[in-house]
Amino acid sequence: MPLVVMTGVASGYGAARVLHDVELALAAGSVTALIGRNGVGKTTLLRTIMGIRPLDAGTMIFDGGDIGRLPPSARARAGIGYVPQGRHIFPQLTVAENLETGLSALGPRGKARAGVPDHIYDLFPKLAMIRGRKGGLLSGGEQQQLAIGRALAGAPRLLLLDEPTEGVQPNVVQMIEAVLLKVRAEFGLTIILIEQYLDFAWSFADHYAVMDGGRIVRQGDTAAESAADVAHLVRI
């Protein structure tokens, strides 16, 4: 049974409809690369899954339950982790405090837990070294690690990643890739990844879905087609 099933999903910004009739099903433990040109609705789709944008039409089922009307905090507690575009680090909170906010997704378990779990610092040793530094003072790569660590602190089952390699230097991209492979293997995470950098996406995605005009226009397995085969679909 799929972990996520979206049927006829429509969403947007007021009168401006961005998503039209999106159909997508994600098997538990799968990684799906969501690709497409700028402005086709990829980020809006992730924001709609997270509950930040309203679901104007359609249904959204997560783990057998309808989450379409739940607020973002309830979706986070249901097991959805979000790493947004632009990272949205809390600038005045320290690295450790940023990570602690992620524990809120655990509900009462998060309240009971004191401090940041060790496995987050094990995944991102750099964050352990700078745990007392304010989030707003970190470099782009450090902020990206923090944003992913914060989402993982809530022990999600579905992780939404919006361009994790954007503005990040190559060695950090490799590190993020290694971490994502590791958490996927260890925790069986289901991941939706928006990524312009197709080689990165193909390095660990099982499936791809191409968006255009607010719809998913093509889907397939990354094993069956190479990144080069679909590159023309995302080129401006």
């Binding site: 973002p72 905090s73 986070a76 809390f90 600038p91 909170l93 405090e97 602690e100 707003g136 914060r150």
Partner: protein, 294 residues
């Protein structure tokens, strides 16, 4: 010289009242961008709760009992206002202004019906009689007590925001409401806690006012205007700025009274704030990120 020192001391004691009255406004504006026009009535409720506590609790330390009663009572009332009114009008600031203004009129009339138009007296206990003589000036114990309560509230608030889990959640919601919700934080519940905390502190301010004069249905009105001035001058939601602005305005008002009477001093204070925000529109502490500093 003694007159000057005496007025500086008075300035700090008035600043303490301004601070207690303004902290709740600053907290709720900083977090929710909500202006609660009924905030002055939370002071009034605190004052009447102190009066009622002193009617039923015997002994010299009954004033100490009145502090938690006023805090909890006003906080619960604030929570009720948030649930019934503020939450339902979120993202409609003008409607919130009008609704809370209407509520303030209802609460004033309610107090008039319950306690009468003439004020009730809260007699300060014997241990607050007299004062301490420092450098030849007499510092009244009541005013020292008010300054002490304000410092304790401020220290408690700073500890709450910087050291506790709820404080962490408040700061997270304040800095990025969308992301806070996406990490699982129930921002609505955080709003409720902060609003109730702010009204609870206003309730404490009401007890302090009751020590200085009669509690009347409009007792909060005389302090709500300076409290709004403090919040505006402090940088709209900054705690550090609110403290600085309360001290500055307390001193300006008090020192002006060396040469003019109290009414003219109020006018001078208003003129001072107008000039100040002309020169520094962002307030004492600029709060560009909307981050609650502590």
């Amino acid at each position: 010289m003694e007159l000057l020192l005496g007025q500086v001391f008075n300035g700090f004691s008035v600043a303490s009242l301004y601070l207690l009255a303004a902290l709740g406004l600053a907290l709720s504006f900083g977090l929710m961008r909500v202006i609660n026009m009924a905030h002055g009535e939370m002071l009034m409720i605190g004052g009447y709760l102190a009066y009622l506590t002193l009617q039923v609790v015997p002994g010299p330390w009954r004033l100490v009992a009145a502090l938690p009663v006023a805090f909890v009572g006003a906080a619960l009332f604030g929570a009720l206002i948030h649930v019934v009114l503020i939450r339902r009008l979120s993202a409609r600031p003008l409607d919130t202004l009008l609704a809370t203004w209407g509520l303030s009129l209802i609460l004033q009339q309610g107090a008039r019906s319950l306690f009468g138009a003439i004020g009730v007296e809260v007699t300060a206990p014997a241990w607050l009689d007299g004062g301490i003589s420092v450098l030849g000036i007499e510092l009244p114990a009541v005013r020292l007590f008010i300054i002490g309560v304000a410092i304790a509230v401020l220290a408690g608030l700073a500890l709450l925001l910087s050291r506790t889990r709820i404080g962490l959640l408040v700061r997270a919601v304040n800095q990025d409401r969308m992301m806070a919700a996406a990490t699982g934080i129930d921002a609505g519940r955080v709003d409720l806690v902060v609003f109730a905390l702010g009204t609870g502190i206003a309730g404490l301010a009401g007890v302090m006012l009751a020590l200085l004069g009669p509690v009347t249905p409009t007792v909060g009105q005389s302090y709500i205007v300076p409290a709004f001035l403090v919040v505006v001058m402090g940088g709209l939601g900054s705690i550090r700025g609110t403290v600085a602005a309360a001290v500055i305005l307390g001193l300006v008002g008090s020192l002006a009274q060396i040469s003019v009477d109290a009414s003219v001093a109020q006018v001078l204070m208003l003129v001072f704030v107008i000039l100040f925000i002309q020169i520094r529109p962002e307030g004492v502490v600029a709060n560009k990120s909307r981050a609650l500093d502590v």
